[in-house]
Symmetry: C2
Subunit: 264 residues, 2 copies
């Protein structure tokens, strides 16, 4: 059973995961970050040790969680000096489990499908945690740990996780960029972004009761060319927004036309 | 003071507005819809009359609310047979107030900035209601009515409303299409859309505590070319998604590069 962990990383995910582990009775022994200040800051919240030197990593934790950006995982692994039986997981959506192969005999993935910030507390209990392991006994350990944090634990392959991450890029990163663009459009005319907030919240809340395809409304779906053309014209000073407006409008229209057609 | 209304339209907005009015002590005298069944269905919920014949419109209501799709407003106006002093408003984001000019001496706009479905009940009390009128006395009447429904009432010009509507298309219609695309990506691999729901809700909820620009995360912001290229490749069977992926990724990167640059 996993009773304590070392967390490698002190970013958004590392921070929120560490806090959730602590709240659920798992000891966080140590935080590693290349930046010693980041490591210290997080460690202090957890009453944990910290280091910025991988050779000084605590060597007897039940689990090592690599929660660094994808492109840094390989470098971390090459500089780990652990027993070859230690259980190591990474937390990345698009990195296959087998990058851990060769570095230890016990490994897996622990991927919480959520967007994290350092400062914003999240309720871990509803976050889907996608787990994968190289051996049934490791899977059981990760499963036992995951259910302490969340009521939504799923065994997911590396390929499935890649697909989830791609869908998450659409539903989170891209969606957030549309909030950014909406805010920019308002700012240019000195209108307050607060006016959009109830709409943004309701747009998201609707997915609880309606399929997104059924929830769609607006000029693109209706193919209301007079509004579409007027809005494209309004974006004349933002050619990049114009281009995105046109493509997304076209895509919405195609989708809904196809759907109507499928129903015939 | 407006004590009763006639509503022209029986769609999503007409339905939710009528229910909110009734709940707040305003009588809905009559519902008009070209489709008599739609008119009847809504009228029954309100204990109101209904008609599908504009020449049979109740002629002594305090307010006439035109809540039909933008492209039908003109036709409705041309077929109204009301006293020239009756107060008439439309509810459209992108239609200027002055389309009502010449049809009555008292007119305005009553635009609730929210996404509506017939079946999904919304809490009107937080919805921004944007009002405009051709005369201060009409503005006061609309203001008095609006504050009965919502704590967020704003006097907004037709030009500002057009900007709000454009921003709303980005933050609602386009965002919802990204949910549709995310759902489609999962469906192709038989993964459950429910897995994305906590992420979608948190992405929206974040705007309460973080500026969208500060909330951005992901491969596009980090310019992580290895993930970006892998994800574009994963979309090879969906050229339309691929195109949108590329443009939005590029736009996110540009935005955040510019922001970093501005901070130098």
């Amino acid at each position: 059973m996993i009773e304590n962990v070392v967390i490698i990383g002190a970013g958004n995910l590392a921070t929120q995961l560490a806090l959730a582990l602590l709240e659920n009775g798992i000891q966080v022994k140590q935080i590693f970050s290349r930046k010693v200040e980041s490591a210290r800051e997080l460690a202090e919240k957890l009453n944990a040790d910290f280091t910025n030197d991988l050779s000084k990593l605590n060597t007897d934790a039940d689990l090592y969680v690599i929660a660094v950006k994808d492109s840094a995982i390989q470098e971390v692994l090459e500089n780990l000096f652990l027993e070859e039986t230690q259980l190591i997981v990474h937390t990345a959506g698009s990195v296959p489990m087998n990058v851990l192969d060769g570095f230890t005999r016990n490994y897996g993935v622990f991927y919480p499908l959520q967007t994290f910030s350092k400062t914003r507390k999240v309720d871990f209990s509803t976050i889907p945690i996608c787990i994968e392991a190289n051996h049934p006994s490791n899977l059981i350990k990760l499963q036992e740990l995951a259910v302490k944090l969340s009521g939504s634990v799923h065994q997911i392959t590396s390929d499935e996780r890649k697909t989830l991450h791609l869908a998450a890029v659409f539903a989170n990163n891209f969606v957030n960029h549309f909030y950014v663009m909406g805010a920019g459009i308002l700012q240019d005319k000195k209108l307050n972004f607060d006016l959009l907030k109830p709409l943004i919240l309701e747009t998201a809340a609707k997915i609880e009761s309606l399929r997104p395809l059924d929830a769609q409304t607006g000029p693109a779906k209706r193919n209301d060319q007079s509004i579409i053309n007027a809005q494209i014209k309004m974006l004349r000073d933002k050619p990049e927004f114009q281009k995105i407006y046109s493509f997304v409008t076209e895509s919405i229209f195609q989708f809904h036309q196809k759907q109507s057609h499928d129903l015939l």
